[in-house]
Symmetry: C2
Subunit: 436 residues, 2 copies
C-alpha cells in the first residue's frame, strides 16, 4: 500500500536543502520512495492520497532531550530557587509510580504529536512505561532509564538503572520504533567506575547513551575539584564520548571540550528555552553546529521547558544566537530548521533512518498548514516556519509510514480519556501540596 | 445593558495582583462596574452572560510599539544584513499607499485581536488609515504619523508629518478609541529644532508622543558626535522626556539615562523578540521596571517581530532577563504579566483607563481558554499564561465594553475578505521582487 502526499511545498531538508514548490512525497510501506516535484503520472494506483492543501510538507521534528514522565508537575513552582529540593524530589518520591509515568507520558505525547514531533529522546524513571506509551502513540523513541548514585523512585539501590536497562532491552528487542538506551544521569551523579561501566555496557549491548553534560556550574566545580578535569574531559576519559552518546546541554564547555566532542562523534542536544529559564548562559551550540558537530534541539522536561514542542523553540534558537553573536545574519531560519530535523537525527545518530525527506528513509513526515493568520504572507517558507508558525499549525503527522494525526485528529491516542485519567492524578498532587 | 463574565479565574492585575479563583466581572456600558468573587445575587437582570468555562479572565493585552502597516512585507528577507536599504525602502516607496496601509492594518488587527490585544500604539505612514482600520475593528489605539527629515511615502517634503498629524487630530477629535499622537521617528532622523518643535506641539495640542529611542549603536555614535550627549540626554534637552512620551527600545542607555527617564515620567516600550532578532543587546528593561519606570511590552512591526501578538513575547521576556541576570528568580511570571497589561497601560500613560480589571476602568477584557494540551496541568495561572499559553488560547475579546471576538469568531472584521484583498497586494509585491 502506498501513501502519496501532494499539493504542498516540500522542504526536503536534504543536504542541498532542496525545496519543491509544487512537491510530492510517495511512501511505500514505512519508507519514502519518492520526494520531488508533483507528477501525477507517478502516483501509483491504489494509493491513499493526502492533500497538503498548499501547506508545508517537511520531515517530522526531532526532540533530542526530554523527560515526559514529569508532565503532571508542569507549572509547579516554576521560578522558585530551590524547587528541586523543596518540591520536585519529595513529590517524585511520593508520586512517581509506573502508572503516573505511563499517564504523564501519554499526556505529553499528545502534545508532542500535535506539535509535529515524530522522534524523541527521553530519560526518566520507569522508562519502560514511557516506551509503552510511545508504542501506543506510534512515535519513534530513544529511551533511557536514569542511572544514578542514589535511590530513585524505581530503585531502592543506587545504580539500579543498570539492571532495569537490561530488562527493558529484552522487552523491547527488535521493536521498530523504540530503542532502549543507557542513561547515566550526569558526570556528578555517577562515580567514575560506574561511568566507565556504562561505556562498556553500551559497547557490549550495542545501544545508545543519553546523558546530561556540562549543564551546571556546580558540576564543573565538583569535577574539577575531584579530577582536575572538565565534565567533557571526564566523559572522554571514562570512554563515554563516542558516536553512541547524545549529550544534553553542553553549556559550560571551552574550545578544547568542543574539539573533544567534535573528534569523538558525540551528538549534542541543545535545550535553549529550558536553559534560559534556568538563568544559564547560552550554550555555544551555533559554534558546535558550524564546526560540524551533530546537534539538534531539545525541549527538556515539561517542568523546565515548559511546553514539549519544537516549533516554539525555533524562534528562540534563531534569536538567542543572534544575540550571542551580536549579528542578525549568523542564524538564518534554514539553519534553525536544519537543527530541528536532520540535525536532531544526526545528534541521535539515526540520520540514516530519519530527519529528511529522501527516498530510502523512514516516512516521518509532517504537514504544516499555512492557513492561520500569522502564516501570511510567506515570502520565505523557512522564515515562516521559524518566526511565524505555531505548533497548532501542524495539521498532519505520519510516523514510520503510519498516519498518526490527520487534520488535527490523533488516530492512536484518545486525548480526552488521557486527560481525564491524568487529571485524577493531578488532583492528588494538588492535595499533597496543600500540606507543604 | 450589562454584560457579566462568570465561571473563570480572574487575574485582576490590580495593585495587589488579586486573583479570584471563582471570579466574575460585571460591565456596565463601556466600563467595569464589579470585579470579584462570583456572586449570583449580584448579577443584574437583563444581563448578557458570558461563560468563561473555567478559563482565565484577565485584562486585555497591550502592545506598546508596532507598525502594522508593514504586515504585507512579513517574512521578506528576514535575516539579510542590508534589508532596509536593499528591500524595504524601495518597496515602501513603490507600494506604501493609503490602500495598502489600510489593508495591511486590517490584516494585523485580525491577528492582534485573535491574540488578545485590546490596545496598541503604532507609528507609520498614512496613520489615519491605521486609525480607520482600528475603528472598524473596535480596538483602542494610540497612533502616530511618523515625522522625519526625509521624504516619506505620504509626504514629498521632509517633516510632512507635522501637517499630517494636525489634520489627523481634527478627523479623530473626541473618538473614544483613537488617540492621535506625534511620532518623531528617532533622535537621528529629526534635527534638533524639529525635536523641540515636536515637544512644543505635544504640549500645545495636548497629545502623546511616540518615538524610537536608543535603539542602534549608529544612533548613539551620531548623537555623541554631534551633541556630545546620549540619545536620552538629547531628548531631555529637547523637552521630549515627559509623561507624554512612550520611547521604544531604550537599549543603549546607562544608569544616568535611566535616572533621566525615571524622573521625567517617560514610558518605555520593551520589544524583546524584535531586538533579539536584530542581534541587539538586551535592554535593561527589568532594571527600569524595578525602579518604577512605566514599562510595557511591544512586538515592533511584523517585519521585525514577526508576529504581532503579546502572548508569544511573555516567555521571551521572562527568560531573557533570567539570562541577563544569571538568576531564574528575578523575572517571575506575575511580573511578566504585569508588563503585558497594566505596565503597558502605564507606559502609554492610560493606566487610569485600562490595563487592569477594576471598577471604573474601561472594559478591555479577554478570556483565555485552558482547554488546549499545553495548558494542563495548572498549579499557577501566571505561570501557565507566561510559559504555556499560545495566542490561540484566547477565546474572547471585549474592548470598551463591546464584544470583539467571541469563541474565536471576530465580530467586527471579516477575516476571509481581508485576507483575500491583502493577498492581491502581496501578488504584486512578489512580482516586483522577481525583478530584484
Amino acid at each position: 500500500m502506498n501513501m502519496v502526499i501532494r499539493n504542498g511545498v516540500v522542504l526536503s531538508m536534504d543536504s542541498n536543502k532542496t525545496v519543491y514548490k509544487k512537491g510530492m512525497v510517495i511512501i511505500t510501506g514505512d519508507t519514502i520512495s519518492y520526494t520531488g516535484r508533483e507528477e501525477s503520472s507517478m502516483i501509483p494506483r491504489t494509493s491513499e492520497i493526502v492533500d497538503a492543501k498548499g501547506g508545508i510538507i517537511m520531515p517530522g521534528l526531532i526532540n533530542t532531550h526530554t523527560h515526559i514522565g514529569m508532565s503532571l508537575f508542569r507549572t509547579l513552582a516554576d521560578d522558585t530557587a530551590d524547587r528541586l529540593k523543596k518540591y520536585l524530589f519529595p513529590l517524585e518520591k511520593k508520586f512517581v509510580t509506573p502508572a503516573l509515568v505511563y499517564q504523564a507520558s501519554l499526556y505529553s505525547l499528545t502534545e508532542m504529536i500535535e506539535g509535529g514531533t515524530t522522534t524523541f529522546a527521553d530519560m526518566y524513571y520507569f522508562e519502560e512505561k514511557v516506551a509503552d506509551a510511545a508504542v501506543k502513540a506510534g512515535i519513534r523513541g530513544i529511551l533511557g532509564e536514569s542511572i544514578l548514585n542514589f535511590p530513585a523512585p524505581d530503585s531502592k539501590e543506587p545504580y539500579g538503572g543498570f539492571v532495569y536497562t537490561e530488562k527493558f532491552m529484552d522487552s523491547y528487542s527488535g521493536n521498530p520504533l523504540i530503542t532502549p538506551a543507557l542513561a547515566p544521569h550526569a558526570p556528578y551523579s555517577l562515580d567514575y567506575n560506574n561511568l566507565k561501566k556504562t561505556a562498556e555496557l553500551a559497547e557490549k549491548w550495542n545501544i545508545p547513551v543519553l546523558s546530561h553534560l556540562a549543564e551546571t556550574p556546580f558540576e564543573t566545580k565538583q569535577i574539577a575539584d575531584e579530577f582536575g578535569l572538565s565534565p567533557v574531559q571526564l566523559y572522554s576519559r571514562a570512554g563515554l564520548l563516542t558516536p553512541r552518546l547524545t549529550a544534553a546541554h553542553c553549556i559550560y564547555i571551552d574550545d578544547h571540550d568542543i574539539d573533544l566532542i567534535k573528534h569523538s562523534g558525540t551528538g549534542v542536544a541543545h535545550n535553549v528555552a529550558a536553559n534560559l529559564k534556568s538563568g544559564r548562559p547560552i550554550s555555544p551550540a551555533l559554534k558546535m553546529f558550524d564546526k560540524g558537530i551533530p546537534i539538534g534541539l531539545g525541549t527538556d522536561g515539561p517542568m523546565s521547558g515548559n511546553t514539549v514542542d519544537i516549533i516554539n523553540l525555533l524562534g528562540y534558537t534563531a534569536k538567542i544566537h543572534k544575540l550571542d553573536n551580536a549579528d542578525r545574519t549568523v542564524m538564518p531560519p534554514e539553519k534553525v530548521l536544519e537543527m530541528a530535523t536532520i540535525g536532531g537525527a544526526r545528534a541521535l545518530h539515526i540520520d540514516d533512518k530519519t530527519g529528511s525527506l529522501e527516498a530510502g528513509k523512514k516516512a516521518d513526515i509532517i504537514i504544516v498548514s499555512t492557513d492561520s493568520t500569522p502564516m501570511f504572507p510567506i515570502y520565505d517558507y523557512y522564515s515562516a516556519m521559524v518566526y511565524c508558525a505555531s505548533p497548532r499549525d501542524v495539521n498532519t503527522v505520519i510516523i514510520n509510514g503510519k498516519m498518526i494525526m490527520q487534520e488535527r485528529e490523533l488516530t492512536t491516542l484518545n486525548k480526552n480519556e488521557i486527560k481525564t485519567e491524568a487529571a485524577k492524578m493531578v488532583v492528588k498532587i494538588k492535595k499533597q501540596l496543600e500540606d507543604y
